[in-house]
């Protein structure tokens, strides 16, 4: 029989399929678990608040809170870059539009639906806020002197996560701390209307602005002023009322008035200002300075396995010049051309994109050299570190060889960390910058037909840009001027929208601006008409109006909802 059992071995292998996987769970002792009662102390509640902040910084290039993929790639400001289309196909799809489908799980190389991943991570952040709010509710008031303030911070953070979901997906399930598990399972993404969802987000920011101190000791915390800023941003988005197919059908004047008065209050506080040099927004040395209204705090050598650095940008460094990976996020020609100026230093609105930018001939806004590194020009203000063009790029034949710079620091910065080939930094990710806040007000004023009041704000940013050449090593022919007056609303609007593109370029806002204004289709079509001649990978790119303004609701979530979630139009 010995002989037989020897030859049976190969058959027995097949029999041991699917035995008791994971059964060890039954025996293991729970580790240091705290019950809700035990957590409910003043100190622990702040620990739960910290845990909620933490989720802002737990992001990653596959689900970033710096919105370079969805904000920049979809807007024609940057190409995906990296090693060709299949290198994160889900982001290639953002540049092409048509491949965006409700189920992206089969997209290489991850075979993970990144749209679903980001959705899920936002709801994880929301659940951290909600469970902390639950603990506060169950805590006797005399044990928690700071209940309202902590609740305000949590509602602020919850609203930040919801805001992200809202601008990506439009129709989302609203889950708050009052809901039971059964109620959550019965909640669909259409229980509230588009406007009602904005109301919910605005209510959280409003509560935060009413219950937080104007200034916080800890620079990373939300304050009454940063809540006011987010409230203004929310109301600005809400003011552009959309129909079911995302067409802007009305601009709500009352909401715009409130945007103006909120920004007035923020300005009057004197807490914020513009840096003298635009560069200081993108250098770790100056982070948490006066222009940073709310930022994700990044850190290194902090006891975490890889450092809580800018994982969201880990792919975006060039292939050379002190880095080695991975050449993602490549600015487009169209974007670079937007910085060209005429002899009076104003944008070349009508003919900016006729030819590719030529450093020897074209006058430019100095903000170009803060935003984009290109062949022959210094990288991050260092005259010794000259961008090498194709030799710095990953797939120059497809995407060209520009490098976006705002989310990167100098390779020798002591704010730099690394894991494998991926460089990261402790550079903060600024979610709300004061210049952005000022432009919301200018935008609201213009839409309120008070464009002459908007002119000084736009000019203030242009004057600051003009004064921001000290670090630029005279790499280009700079010419930037200010506007005298705008003849009409159309001109003012054009200037404002241009100003947002160049002032906030590559900061992850542009696509959402286009959708808010209701001009995504025409802007992207115009971009594609020329850019696909320069970058043939775009040949089949096609933006479908009334569809591609928003991402699909992830198919996995629709499935898990048992089909009660409703897919967005067109998908």
């Amino acid at each position: 029989m010995n002989r037989i059992s020897k030859f049976l071995t190969s058959s027995l292998v097949a029999l041991s399929v699917a035995s008791c996987g994971g059964s060890g769970e039954l025996d293991s002792e729970p580790q240091a678990v705290l019950t809700e009662d035990q957590v409910a102390t003043t100190e622990n509640i702040d620990a739960l608040v910290i845990a909620t902040y933490s989720y802002l910084g737990n992001d990653h290039y596959t689900a970033p809170n710096y919105l370079w993929p969805t904000g920049n790639l979809r807007a024609g400001d940057a190409h995906k870059g990296g090693n060709g289309p299949s290198d994160i196909f889900a982001y290639h799809a953002l540049s092409m539009y048509e491949p965006l489908v409700p189920d992206m799980e089969s997209f290489p190389p991850d075979l993970i639906d990144l749209n679903n991943k980001k959705w899920t991570r936002n709801y994880t952040g929301i659940s951290r806020a909600n469970s902390a709010l639950n603990v506060i509710q169950d805590t006797p008031a005399d044990e928690l002197a700071t209940a309202d303030e902590k609740s305000a911070e949590l509602r602020f953070l919850r609203a930040v996560f919801y805001f992200d979901l809202k601008i990506h997906h439009k129709h989302i399930p609203w889950i708050d701390e009052t809901m039971t598990q059964e109620e959550i399972l019965a909640t669909t993404n259409r229980d509230l209307t588009d406007q009602q969802l904005w109301d919910k987000i605005a209510a959280d920011f409003r509560f935060a602005s009413n219950n937080l101190p104007a200034v916080q000791q800890d620079v990373g915390r939300a304050s009454s002023l940063s809540a006011k800023a987010y409230l203004a941003k929310t109301l600005l988005y809400q003011a552009y009322e959309q129909d079911e197919l995302h067409n802007v059908v009305n601009i709500n004047q009352q909401k715009l008035e409130e945007v103006v008065s909120l920004v007035d209050e923020i300005e009057a506080s004197g807490e914020y200002g513009l840096y003298d040099d635009y560069a200081e927004n993108f250098l770790a040395e100056f982070e948490n300075g006066r222009e940073s209204v709310f930022a994700i705090q990044r850190s290194l050598n902090d006891g975490s396995p890889d450092g809580r650095g800018t994982w969201s940008s880990a792919l975006n460094a060039p292939m050379s010049g002190g880095f080695g990976c991975c050449g993602f996020h490549v600015p487009t020609e169209n974007f670079v051309n937007a910085f060209k100026t005429d002899n009076s230093g104003l944008p070349r609105f009508s003919n900016f994109n006729e030819s590719v930018y030529n450093v020897a001939n074209d006058l430019v806004d100095p903000r170009l050299d803060h935003t984009v590194a290109m062949e022959g020009k210094p990288f991050k203000y260092d005259p010794e570190l000259i961008h090498g063009g194709d030799s710095w790029a990953r797939a120059p034949g497809i995407y060209g060889n520009y490098t976006g710079m705002k989310d990167l620091e100098h390779p020798d910065c002591d704010c730099r960390g690394e894991n494998g080939p991926f460089p990261i930094f402790s550079l903060n990710t600024v979610l709300v910058r004061y210049a952005d806040v000022l432009l919301w007000k200018a935008e609201a004023l213009i839409e309120l037909d008070r464009w002459e009041e908007a002119t000084p704000t736009i000019n203030r940013l242009r004057a600051r840009a003009a004064a921001s050449t000290g670090r630029l090593n005279e790499a280009s022919m700079y010419r930037i001027g200010t506007y005298d007056t705008f003849a009409n609303k159309t001109e003012a609007r054009q200037a404002l929208r241009w100003e947002r593109r160049v002032e906030l370029g590559l900061e992850g806002h542009r696509f959402f601006d286009l959708v808010r204004w209701g001009v995504a289709k025409e802007t992207i079509d115009e971009y594609l008409t020329t850019e696909r001649g320069r970058k043939p990978y775009l040949e089949d790119a096609a933006f479908t109006k009334n569809k591609h303004e928003y991402l699909p609701i992830p198919n996995q979530q629709i499935n898990l909802s048992g089909g009660i979630y409703v897919q967005n139009p067109g998908y």
Partner: protein
């Protein structure tokens, strides 16, 4: 009961393991130990119990003709119930909603057959007796997921509605079905609307026949379970000589050949070394190729999970072959030895695969190093 656990930080780098910790640099200090907090723990399940198996096994062992023919036959059916499974909860339930549940039932059913023949034979041709010892075994097993609770039915692929793992093998693969290569613009136009379609590109089957290629055109298209596996062992002894040969094989079962990402595409790993197959890529003149047209720009999503990368895992291997010589007792004693043998042995000398197998070795289709072929010449002495 809701519980909390402290958790400082976890991994940040790898795609599936992002940081789920709670540490945060709230003071803007950029380094050092950070304040941190608690996360809501994995949801408990008070009803959790051991999984249970029941197995029916019927078998016969037999020895015939004075033990020259022997063998056994077994049939079994094993049902494993209450298998522990981690749920995949809807995102809105938030952190810690995942829980272990006793999730469903899997059936394994199979047969095994062993046959052997062993005899010292007088051949008439040879002056001495020849030992012939031949063994054969074959087995086949079928795996079926028969029940799953609602909160785990989607943890194994499928669309969560009409296409689920139920009734299929747990080793089933879900994705798109590649249906050859578009040969012409006319074929592209005849086909359902497929974003990225062009002559030379992979055609995805319109499984739901709605005229558009989208996520609903995925299905379970393969499983990794072999139809059967088998082995054959031959031993012959004649006088001082011995000979052994062992063959082992697998019939059926699909394998994913990840090397095709490199061998069949220039778009999926730009700048890496491409395989020689790309030299035979599709062109209008080379229409019979199964390698898609070369491009640097993959707008057709050809790296997606699809049947393109899957092939039959069938193989037959000569695992071992050896010939040995044992000197006579006289000789051994004269040399002052207790025992001696001289032999030549080869392992993994031969792998036979059917036509159409692209994998170098279907047993280890995605390994960087193949199973080694080892040839040994041996002298054994014991004192």
């Amino acid at each position: 009961m809701t519980t909390y656990v402290p958790r400082y930080a976890t991994q940040s780098l790898f795609t599936n393991e992002q940081d789920e910790g709670t540490a945060y640099d709230i003071t803007g200090s950029n380094s050092g130990t950070l304040p941190s907090g608690f996360v809501r723990a994995q949801t408990g399940n008070a009803d959790l119990k051991w999984e249970t198996s029941t197995q029916i096994n019927l078998g016969v062992d037999f020895e015939l003709f004075r033990n020259t023919v022997y063998g056994s036959f077994d049939w079994y059916e094993k049902e494993t119930r209450d298998i522990l499974t981690l749920t995949q909860p809807i995102a809105t339930l938030g952190e810690g909603a995942q829980k272990w549940v006793n999730g469903g039932t899997i059936e394994n059913a199979g047969v095994e057959l062993v046959l052997g023949y062993e005899k010292w034979i007088e051949t008439g041709l040879l002056e001495d007796e020849l030992l012939v010892d031949i063994n054969f075994n074959i087995s086949s097993t079928e795996n079926t997921v028969t029940t799953l609770p609602a909160d785990v039915v989607n943890s194994f692929g499928g669309n969560g509605q009409d296409k689920t793992i139920l009734g299929r093998s747990i080793n089933s693969v879900y994705g798109y079905v590649a249906d050859g290569i578009f040969q012409s613009q006319a074929e592209v136009e005849e086909h359902a609307v497929q974003s990225g379609a062009a002559p030379g590109r992979i055609r995805w089957q319109d499984l739901d026949a709605n005229g558009v290629i989208d996520e609903n055109d995925q299905d379970f298209f393969a499983d990794t379970d072999p139809d059967f596996i088998y082995g054959m062992n031959f031993t012959f002894k004649y006088k001082a000589w011995d000979f052994n040969m062992f063959w082992q094989g697998v019939k059926g079962g699909q394998i994913r050949n990840n090397w095709r990402l490199f061998t069949d595409f220039t778009s999926l790993n730009i700048g890496s070394n491409y395989g020689a197959r790309t030299l035979d890529a599709w062109t209008p003149e080379n229409a019979n190729s199964d390698v898609p047209a070369l491009t640097l720009i993959d707008n057709n999503g050809e790296g997606r999970q699809s049947s393109f990368f899957w092939e039959e895992g069938t193989y037959l291997k000569l695992r071992n072959i050896s010939v040995g010589y044992t000197p006579t007792l006289d000789f051994i004693e004269r040399m002052g030895l207790n025992d001696a043998r001289i032999y030549l042995q080869a392992q993994n000398l031969l792998t036979i695969t059917p036509d159409g197998t692209l994998s170098e070795d279907p047993e280890t289709p995605n390994e960087v190093f193949p199973v080694p072929r080892r040839i040994t010449f041996g002298l054994e002495f014991s004192f």
